[in-house]
Symmetry: D2
Subunit: 133 residues, 4 copies
């Protein structure tokens, strides 16, 4: 499990007085980058990216300006050329949302296209030898 904490900033709220639903998904991405940073995985500097291929989320309670939220990433699993994981966002004991994401690793080509890549070693090593090969 990886934990990441994040204060809700004013620009992330909307006119209903709560964090806009898309910004919560941005917090999950930040938590993922925070986890990768800890593993020494460079994301853009060397021409690689991690586009999302699937997102599922259930929104359970609103979060507001200045709330201190915790994003938890769990159940990280190796997928073909990518990863899946589950997440929850909490404010203390209150669940704000939970869901799951699938991401893939790609090389950013000079013409702007994406070429699927194997997982970087630092991440692949976490999951042990790939059972499918």
């Amino acid at each position: 499990m990886h934990c990441y904490s994040r204060r809700v900033e004013f620009a992330e709220t909307d006119a209903a007085g709560v964090v806009h639903f898309t910004k919560l998904l941005g917090y999950v991405e930040e938590a993922e980058h925070d986890w990768m940073r800890g593993l020494g995985v460079i994301r853009l500097g060397e021409g690689f990216g991690w586009p999302r291929v699937g997102v599922e989320v259930r929104y359970l309670a609103p979060a507001r300006f200045e709330d201190l939220l915790v994003v938890e990433l769990t159940n990280l699993e190796r997928q073909t050329r990518g990863l899946s994981y589950q997440f929850v966002i909490r404010r203390e004991e209150t669940l704000i949302c939970r869901g799951q994401l699938k991401i893939v690793r790609v090389r950013l080509e000079a013409d702007g296209s994406f070429t699927p890549q194997e997982l970087p070693e630092a991440i692949g090593a976490i999951f042990g030898p790939n059972p499918t090969r």
Copy 2:
């Protein structure tokens, strides 16, 4: 079905050269508001909101700055105190993403809390008499 078209603006792209995945969900929300606006349903002026309770999305191809996208909303269905619908976002024949959303209607209370509400008449009327009452 409701169609809404939207050009990708520069501020919505990210350093991988594509629209950030969260912004595509914002386009779906815009399409939904565009549909509601056509029905004369006021969203905020009278103290009502439509928070999302569930989102599922599959990302299929990247979209880029200046792309002219079409968002299509289909399979609108009445849910308890809310609605569900499916969506696709296309650039001509290319599918950018597809998924589904569930939203509920709430009253925005003075203390900042949300109270679930019945659908407004203009929307409820589309689905015929509520079979559960």
Copy 3:
């Protein structure tokens, strides 16, 4: 003068119930791109960008969700390797904000750096022969 109209979308509002001040500057950038698009000036596809070097803005009245705003760009002037212009954003007769921007044209190098460039011909031609050469 170039005019661009823009409806305020929900995701652009904040918890004070108005458009976030940074989003109004995004509308100005959109109006600028809309003007360039009309001149056939490609912005990113061929590796050029237009970073801002200076922004000044006075905020005069709030704008809200669903407001239909008009952005007007005026007083476009050639600068060394760039342009300056003034802008206002209005909702009918109400001035929302006004200000000025300076932008430069750069080539986006493979290593991520920016190299200053002359104005593209389609834009330079608007201002007549450059008096300084």
Copy 4:
């Protein structure tokens, strides 16, 4: 002077590979809120807001994904019903941008309008007795 540090998140970058210019202004607002939070000044919970009335900024160098930036607020001065201050954003010794802001304090009325207010005591006390009364 108040200092606030902030890592650049991926969603804040644009397709030129740098932080979008509007997001840097958002970082300044975050630094301001961080300063107010330290003084115990509640911003929204009790129905007050701090809209911006003027912004000036010079952009000097690009900032990129994962950069660790420092926002410094200086020269805080009392204005009629508001404050002005200057800011710089740095990445170590590199100046990313600098500028100044004017903000006012308002009460958020039930009908959505803003009524100008005196500074809260915790902030007014910093500047000593108001010389104009």
